[in-house]
């Protein structure tokens, strides 16, 4: 359980930090409007939104390390799977990243988030399976 | 026909190139069907080796070992293993339950090696045997969750799962306290009384000879009383 928790914490850090260095904003690219001002591209907003998922995921990992009861493991698994799903949806369906495959946000940020999200879901599924097999131990 | 017959059996271990140790020297022993034989002796007297020879677990340097009139060492490994599985039950001195299996799985384990359909209903028979030894509430427990005495009772149940003709017990109570020792010995006596199974029990405690129908003493690899 502690190993799974450590993995979730690491993935939370990846989800929160990697997009900050791989979105177009960090590469000095932005959208130029007709009036001359610049606004960030949508990959930047995806990166910001991922922080909002990474923080609760980090906390979830910390709680996971100390959870022993079957019921709490089930809840953690459910929350983890949900967060993992949104990690994947943000760069693909909800906000998105730049369309060109040449952009770093498309070639690095998006696949990293998808892979991390899949791993979070897999770990959550594993936690749920092991919790179902657990014989409840009373102190 | 004796149940177990050892004819002039010797077992010598080559400890090193120069040093050889004779654990059993020229022993002849007949154990009849239905006997409860208690073999006593100090550590190093050769009693465990004698038991292993009787079970076919170790090959004699010379002599013959027969079980139900079959020369054990004329059989292939497969035939010997099958014979052991069907005709002999073992109770060991050391904790011999597999830690990764539950109590029920441990008792049913020997049926996994059977090829004569004795593995059918294995779990039901195992549960019944655990009831006989007073552990019907521990079916899904793991060995680490049992006391030493409880573990030994599970081992006795396992020894009986294949309905063997012979029960071989190697110092089964040496790690137990006095009260538990009595419980285990009573269990052996009850099983012997109810089923008429042939039992050979090895111990260094001479007080236990009262539980058997015959007592044999060993020293320096030889039998003192036949």
């Amino acid at each position: 359980m502690k190993i799974a928790a450590a993995l979730v914490i690491v993935l939370a850090l990846v989800i929160g930090l990697v997009p900050q260095f791989t979105d177009c904003q960090s590469q000095g690219r932005a959208l130029t409007l007709q009036n001359g001002s610049t606004v960030p591209m949508k990959c930047h907003w995806t990166a910001v939104a991922e922080i909002a998922l990474a923080v609760p995921l980090f906390a979830l990992g910390a709680v996971m390390a100390f959870s022993r009861r079957k019921e709490s493991k089930r809840i953690i698994a459910g929350l983890g799977a949900l967060l993992g799903l949104f990690v994947i949806l943000l760069p693909t369906a909800l906000i998105g990243v730049c369309a060109s495959s040449m952009m770093l946000c498309n070639s690095v940020m998006k696949p990293t988030l998808i892979l991390s999200g899949i791993l979070v879901i897999a770990i959550s599924a594993g936690t749920l399976i092991t919790s179902e097999r657990q014989v409840e131990q009373f102190a | 026909m004796s149940m177990i017959a050892l004819r002039d059996v010797t077992k010598t271990y080559q400890v090193s190139k120069e040093v050889a140790v004779t654990a059993v020297r020229g022993v002849s022993l007949n154990v009849e069907r239905g006997e409860f034989v208690i073999i006593t002796g100090r550590s190093g007297s050769g009693k465990t080796t004698l038991l292993n020879l009787a079970a076919g677990l170790v090959k004699p340097t010379s002599g013959e070992v027969r079980l139900a009139d079959v020369n054990l060492w004329s059989l292939s490994d497969r035939e010997q293993s099958l014979l052991r599985n069907q005709k002999i039950g073992f109770v060991f001195q050391f904790p011999s339950l597999l830690p990764s299996l539950t109590v029920l799985e441990n008792v049913a384990l020997p049926t996994m090696f059977a090829t004569n359909h004795k593995n059918r209903d294995a779990y039901e028979r195992a549960a019944r045997l655990l009831e006989v030894v007073g552990l019907s509430d521990k079916l899904s427990a793991y060995p680490r969750q049992l006391s030493a005495g409880q573990q030994q009772r599970v081992v006795v149940a396992r020894a009986l799962i294949s309905q063997p003709q012979v029960l071989l017990a190697d110092e089964p109570t040496s790690n137990l306290d006095e009260q538990t020792e009595q419980e285990i010995m009573n269990l052996f006596r009850d099983i012997h009384g109810q089923t008429g199974i042939t039992i050979i029990l090895v111990t260094h405690t001479s007080q236990l000879v009262a539980y058997g129908t015959r007592a044999i003493a060993m020293a320096n690899g030889a039998i003192l009383d036949a």
Binding site: - | T49, D77, S81
Partner: protein, 397 residues
């Protein structure tokens, strides 16, 4: 309980050891599959690119071979020119069936007049072209009109727009070609007429005009007559047309082939080392496990297990861990290779196309076999030795 269940209970009973073997199998299988996917992907990609080009010989200005290969394979725009009159000379060489000229252009970098930066643009002559034209006839049913273009699989019209802006000129994207995993996927194809129109408009509307030297072309694609020897034709072209280099199709992309071969060698070395170390580690782990379980195995033998059963049960443990670890490793390898394919292409500098599903299934099966074979091989000797030990001796302390 059967052998598999018994092996599984032993796996659960020694969690740390099982995890180590699992991880070794995962790494070996995953790395093997990644290696094969990358190399196979690069080779498939090269093959598709050559098929797409459709030419037996590509004639380029002398010294421009590497630049042109780079443009076609990696999508890095290039500007190379040779006199248009070379086309006539090439067409007259005996054995040449068709010679079709192409112009290699590129969009501007970070210019507001271009929707995409540094995109490779290829202009072709619709009268003689035999690469894009067949696709156009099949997919669109007509040739490209003025202001129209087709793109590789990565070319698209920006969101919310109806056209692609290049040099201040609005181009209508009529369709996308199938992916090749090469730079052709990021290339836009248009007619000579459209390219000249862009050059004309760009003088007033673009930050920098599109310069097309008059009476020039970048390359000529050649189809040889049936039965003609491509090598002889190429040699004749070299002799009769000064200042050009003809590249035969099989020799095309030599630089990249060498790169792929070099990469393959490097990856095979790393894979061999990883495999060897993993097998040694797994062998050691199973030896340790067999040693620690000597007494337990002695008990099993006393209960009636044959030598064969003991041997099979240890191999079954190895096989279960190999399959589970291998499956996870392979799954991760497939996922990572697929998700990061663009990054792989750019960082390794080779083309890459993810294999089709039937090919992938075959490769996955192969990967599992490697994992299974490797792990069970590593466990073979410890399993054999422990199955042969004397049960009575094994049970002694």
């Amino acid at each position: 309980m059967n052998l598999g269940q018994f092996a599984w209970s032993n796996i659960k009973g020694s969690a740390f050891r099982s995890w180590v073997v699992f991880l070794c199998a995962m790494i070996v299988a995953g790395f093997s599959l990644s290696t094969v996917l990358i190399i196979r992907g690069a080779q498939d990609s090269l093959r598709l690119a050559l098929d797409r080009l459709g030419a037996d010989i590509i004639v380029v200005p002398e010294g421009a071979e590497t630049k042109v290969e780079s443009a076609l394979l990696m999508g890095k725009p290039v500007k190379v020119w040779m006199p248009q009159e070379n086309l006539g000379k090439i067409a007259r060489v005996p054995g040449v069936a068709v010679a079709s000229p192409q112009l290699y252009l590129s969009s501007l970098s970070n210019a507001s007049c271009c929707a995409v930066s540094d995109m490779f643009m290829v202009a072709f002559d619709p009268k003689t072209d035999f690469t894009v034209e067949p696709w156009l006839k099949h997919k669109l049913g007509h040739e490209l009109r003025l202001g129209e273009a087709v793109g590789g699989s990565y070319v698209f019209t920006p969101e919310g727009e109806e056209n692609i802006k290049l040099y201040g000129y609005f181009i209508t994207l009529k369709g996308n070609l199938a992916p090749t995993g090469t730079g052709l996927d990021q290339t836009m194809f248009m007619t000579f007429e459209t390219a000249q129109d862009i050059a004309r408009i760009s003088k007033t509307r673009a930050e920098k005009p599109l310069e097309i030297p008059p009476n020039s072309m970048s390359a000529a694609l050649v189809k040889v007559q049936p039965g003609a020897d491509t090598r002889s034709v190429a040699l004749d072209i070299m002799q009769q047309v000064p200042g050009v280099t003809p590249i035969e199709s099989p020799d095309m992309f030599q630089t990249f082939r060498q790169q792929i071969t070099g990469l393959l060698r490097g990856m095979l070395v790393i894979l061999s080392i990883t495999l060897l170390l993993s097998l040694v580690l797994i062998g050691l782990i199973f030896s340790m496990a067999a040693n620690e379980r000597r007494r337990e195995i002695g008990v099993l033998r006393a209960l009636g297990a044959t030598r064969g059963f003991v041997f099979q049960s240890i191999l079954a443990e190895a096989a279960l861990l190999a399959v589970d670890g291998g499956a996870v490793g392979i799954g991760l390898a497939c996922l990572a290779t697929y998700l990061f394919r663009d990054l792989l292409m750019r960082s390794l500098g080779i083309p890459f196309l993810f294999p089709s599903l039937p090919s992938l299934v075959t490769l996955v099966g192969g990967g599992l076999v490697v994992a299974l074979g490797g792990v069970t091989l590593a466990a073979f000797i410890p399993a054999y030795r422990v199955s042969r030990q004397d049960p009575a001796l094994a049970m002694r302390e």
